[in-house]
């Protein structure tokens, strides 16, 4: 899939910055919420919304920048930088981006599918890192529940991003209706 905005333009820089800012806010809000799972650092990935939006707007490479930058900013804001939760967030962000970037190459999959796939990869990577950090397979016990939660959360984020993308022609005339 070709990104909507041609790379290097000021609009790309502004769009990436905006998505990072929104993603950081969502991430900080999420870290203040009651955790959905009894493992510190495991998140459902509300902030994944901005990566889902970034993929069609600015392309895969810039979407990865958005994702990693927001993880860094959230870690600085919540004091998790360099800790186990940071490693988990980083792994989750990278895995989620990889799966979503792959799914964007498949014509039959819409942002809803990207989001669900990304959310599943996000929790799976976090649980794996949590197992390594804790030196125990215990976090993997939560895999079934986590994947089902990710499925639900991914659907919500997917529908939300489809809604947002359908409104984008107002801001980005280049974005065709999908």
């Amino acid at each position: 899939m070709r990104p909507t905005l041609s790379s290097g333009s000021a609009r790309v820089v502004a769009t990436v910055a905006m998505l990072v800012a929104v993603g950081a806010i969502l991430g900080i809000v999420e870290s203040a919420l009651v955790p959905a799972l009894p493992i510190p650092g495991v998140r459902l990935g509300l902030a994944n919304l901005v990566v889902v939006l970034a993929l069609p707007l600015v392309g895969r490479a810039a979407a990865l920048r958005v994702s990693l930058l927001r993880v860094l900013i959230v870690a600085i804001a919540t004091g998790a930088l360099g800790g186990p939760a940071f490693a988990m967030a980083l792994a989750g962000a990278a895995a989620s981006w990889a799966v979503m970037a792959w799914l964007t190459g498949r014509r039959s999959v819409s942002p809803i599918g990207w989001s669900v796939g990304g959310a599943a990869a996000h929790v799976a990577a976090q649980l794996l890192v949590a197992s390594v950090v804790a030196g125990s397979a215990a976090p993997l016990l939560l895999a079934p529940v986590s994947l089902l939660l990710a499925l639900a959360c991914g659907l919500v984020i997917g529908y939300a991003s489809r809604l947002l993308l359908s409104r984008l022609p107002l801001v980005y005339p280049e974005v065709g209706t999908r």
């Binding site: 650092g41 599918g113 669900v116 125990s136 895999a143 990710a150 499925l151």
Partner: protein
């Protein structure tokens, strides 16, 4: 929702269901064991195994009985028999101590992982 989306949803749902037995295996690996530490030796006995151990203590013998998911000290050559009075323990992290004999019995997981991590 497109056809591709339905496939992605189905794959995630199948993975979630397939993860149940995997999670069960992880639980089995961490099955509780009784860790019995004496002055001369350390024993690790799975809690579901029925076993009787005579552990050599500093003043005599401590008899530890493991079985049916719990462990207790039935006899001990010590003055107060606090270890015997402690009864059976079955919760992870619970312990029986026979201080005069230098023998402790603890319930631990395979690798005694921390209960939780906070930052």
């Amino acid at each position: 929702m497109t056809r591709g989306d339905r496939i992605v949803v189905a794959v995630v749902a199948v993975l979630a269901i397939a993860a149940w037995p995997l999670a069960g295996m992880a639980a089995g690996q961490d099955a509780a064991v009784a860790v019995i530490v004496g002055p001369g030796a350390t024993y690790r006995v799975p809690l579901d195994a029925a076993r009787r151990l005579d552990v050599a203590g500093l003043h005599g013998t401590v008899t530890v009985v493991v079985g049916a998911g719990s462990v207790r000290v039935t006899e001990s050559d010590c003055r107060d028999h606090l270890c015997v009075e402690r009864g059976a323990i079955d919760a992870p992290g619970a312990a029986i101590v026979c201080a005069p004999n230098g023998v402790t019995v603890r319930i631990g997981g395979r690798d005694d992982a921390p209960d939780a991590l906070i930052r």
